[in-house]
């Protein structure tokens, strides 16, 4: 954006002032995320730049908080070699949390992506009845305040069979609260709107005549789907899946309400850390998470470009 040639001096001044404002807002957006990265290498247990750090003295920096992430919860943190790593793998709290986050994230993403993609395919057909109302229901988990969703799930998951008693059955069934299945279902529910939104957005530019062409050349519906439709919408599906995964990976309210002690995830562990005694170890986790979100952002951006390229949508 350049200043037009007919601009008055005052307008030129305003233009540069405007750019300065924008720079300040970008700084506001990004600085809080960047600033925790150097702070996580603080040698002292403070949340600010110590004099040693400001003078770039190597003694002001350390990896002690990263080490404490690994050793927290371990039975014998002083052991060496194989014993150390196997202890960390089975006992370290943050390692357990990372394992849980990944297990729950992967399975809830699978559920959300498969169901969400199928539904998006249906919703994108022009014949779909009640399209708008159904869409509104399917998107609502993203809109309804999480605390309300979590409260509802808390009651339902404590006794999932209570529903059937309304119809006169009184079966016995176990609790879903405090199980992996419960958390996975809850996170799948929360991730579904993102899959629906991204996949329907991909299908907007989808040329239905490609399907008809495949059919006219003798492909059955299954072959058409896997050979023609799927490769074209795959970037949208993958970015929807990434959204669903990030939603699950970042979710703490539902975990607070329905997870048991065995399903502590990374955000849950962070929540504990922040509420009780906040230590720079939290900043070390935060730094690792920022790095992973940069990686995810890059992936999604590349996928979006690929999708635009193969669908022939040129960027404006």
């Amino acid at each position: 954006m350049a200043v037009p040639t007919y601009a008055s001096p005052l307008e030129r001044v305003w233009h540069y002032f405007y750019l300065a404002i924008c720079a300040a807002i970008f700084f506001f957006l990004i600085a809080p995320i960047i600033v925790i990265i150097p702070l996580s290498f603080n040698a002292a247990p403070y949340f600010t730049f110590t004099p040693a750090m400001r003078s770039l003295d190597p003694d002001g920096f350390s990896l002690r908080w990263y080490e404490s992430l690994l050793t927290f919860g371990m039975q014998n943190p002083d052991s060496q070699g194989w014993a150390f790593w196997s202890d960390a793998w089975t006992n370290a709290k943050w390692v357990q949390a990372a394992k849980n986050s990944i297990i729950i994230g992967v399975f809830s993403t699978l559920v959300a992506t498969v169901l969400g993609t199928l539904a998006a395919l249906g919703l994108s057909r022009p014949e779909m009845p009640f399209r708008r109302a159904i869409m509104a229901i399917l998107i609502s988990p993203m809109i309804v305040p999480l605390i309300i969703t979590a409260t509802g799930m808390f009651f339902f998951y404590s006794n999932p069979c209570e529903l059937l008693t309304l119809f006169g059955f009184s079966p016995e069934c176990g609790r879903l609260a405090g199980t992996y299945l419960g958390v996975i279902l809850a996170h799948a529910t929360l991730g579904i709107p993102f899959v629906i939104i991204t996949v329907t957005a991909t299908l907007v530019g989808f040329d239905q005549s490609l399907n008809r062409a495949a059919a006219s050349l003798g492909a059955n519906p299954r072959t058409t789907f896997f050979k023609v439709t799927m490769p074209l919408i795959l970037p949208g599906v993958v970015s929807g899946a990434l959204f669903a995964f990030v939603t699950s990976f970042d979710e703490v309210v539902a975990v607070l309400f329905i997870a048991g002690p065995d399903q502590q995830t990374i955000p849950r562990q962070m929540w504990n850390g922040i509420r009780e005694q906040i230590s720079p170890a939290i900043l070390a986790v935060a730094t690792l998470l920022v790095i992973s979100s940069i990686a995810l952002l890059t992936t999604v951006e590349l996928l979006r470009r690929r999708s635009e390229r193969i669908r022939g949508v040129t960027p404006r």
Binding site: L29, G116, P129, R132, F155, L163, M270
Partner: protein, 411 residues
């Protein structure tokens, strides 16, 4: 009449094939719809049921509940009533459900839980007629007309009292609705604060988001894509990470205060309290919700043709007039979409206020969580949740009307 090749009427064949296509489309959506209904819609419905249905008293105190049902409001307790009460208390104490009963009455009349539990302990060792005298001997509070009026309310499992309580209303002895004592009025204030802070946050995201969206929309694609990363990175970063970094920055011993002291803006002894209050909630939530304002504004601004503004300028408008009369009105769809999304998300926020809000920055969601995990008054939590949900659904309906949920974009 037109017919198909095999002789059927064309209209019917068409209707049939269209019906088949509709069913096929619907079948694709059906699994997800069922999934969402079971894991999301039904649980919320079940929770809402608790806001007006609580059988904690009526189930465990059947005889006295029956007496209440048979008599008029305001009837003073007679011998039958005292006998029923004594029998129910004994049965309930033996079944160890007296705590549930006491808790239920305690919701409507605080301080009564111990009355039930302590009386329960004593009647288990036997109680002799006349029951009124016996119970009054155990505790004279049993003669309180307010208690009898409260028990009458609780004798029916269906009650509107939790909704009354969530708008700071209660019932007096005659069952008339009145405001609660001044120092107990919290919920209306919390609702008001939630909406007010959400409006402030929405306004701030607009003030900060508009220049950014405008810059991104007018820059060449290559540059704006690069700068877009600065908007998308916070969007993709964990909510807890962003909240944590604000806690670190805004602390009294944190980076911003250190910087201000170092610059000499404030003295070392007068460090600013920017966190654990409303300021903290506003700053952190504005930062977290800003991308939700920028992205819809940006996608609308991209489509605005710059020649309109140029035409206005060539016709003699000043740059301010051209902006106000020509450019700004065209951004309104994006502004509306962004503002509604930010407001809807802000109204239900829980995590950030809980961590950085202190006591003055708590929102209604935090009160719901407090009733769920702290006081365990689940019916109250459900009533507050119902009111909040109602507000959000109205906004969502408006959003769908004005913007359309299918226009929702992510990144």
């Amino acid at each position: 009449m037109l017919t198909t090749a095999d002789g059927r009427p064309l209209a019917r064949a068409l209707a049939r094939s269209q019906g088949r296509a509709r069913r096929k489309a619907f079948l694709l959506v059906l699994p997800l719809l069922a999934f969402i209904l079971i894991t999301f819609v039904v649980p919320i419905g079940q929770m809402l049921q608790r806001s007006f249905y609580n059988d904690g008293f009526s189930v465990h105190m059947p005889q006295v509940s029956a007496w209440f049902a048979a008599t008029e409001r305001g009837t003073p307790p007679d011998d039958a009533a005292w006998a029923a009460l004594a029998a129910d208390l004994t049965a309930s104490a033996e079944a160890r459900t007296i705590g549930v009963v006491g808790t239920r009455i305690n919701y409507d009349m605080s301080g009564t839980r111990s009355l039930f539990t302590s009386t329960g302990r004593q009647v288990r060792s036997g109680i002799e007629p006349p029951y009124d005298q016996a119970l009054l001997d155990i505790n004279p509070a049993w003669g309180d007309p307010m208690l009898w009026s409260t028990m009458r309310e609780a004798a029916s499992p269906y009650t509107a009292n939790f909704y009354l309580a969530s708008v700071d209303r209660t019932r007096d002895e005659q069952g008339q609705i009145q405001q609660v004592e001044e120092r107990q009025r919290v919920y209306l204030m919390l609702f008001w604060r939630t909406f007010w802070l959400s409006a402030v946050i929405t306004a701030l995201t607009f003030v900060l988001g508009f220049p950014i969206a405008h810059l991104l929309a007018t820059l060449p694609m290559r540059k704006s894509n690069l700068l877009m990363i600065l908007v998308l990175l916070p969007f993709w970063t964990s909510l807890l990470v962003r909240t944590t970094s604000w806690m670190v920055l805004l602390q009294q011993q944190g980076v911003i205060n250190d910087l201000l002291v170092w610059l000499g803006v404030i003295g070392g002894g007068e460090r600013l309290q920017m966190i654990y209050n409303q300021t903290g909630t506003i700053i952190a939530m504005t930062h977290i919700l800003l991308p939700f304002m920028i992205l819809p504004l940006y996608s609308v601004m991209r489509t605005i043709n710059p020649s309109y503004v140029r035409a206005a300028r060539s016709l003699g408008a000043t740059s301010w007039t051209a902006f106000r009369r020509i450019y700004f009105p065209q951004t309104l769809p994006g502004l509306g979409a962004g503002a509604m999304l930010v407001f809807i998300l802000a109204v239900g926020y829980y995590i950030t206020p809980a961590l950085v809000g202190g006591s003055s920055g708590q929102l209604i969601s935090n009160m719901i969580a407090q009733h769920m995990t702290g006081t365990l008054n689940w019916s109250m939590a459900a009533a507050l949740a119902a009111l909040l949900l109602g507000a959000v659904l109205i906004l969502y309906w408006l959003y769908d009307r004005l913007v359309g949920v299918d226009n929702l974009k992510l990144g």
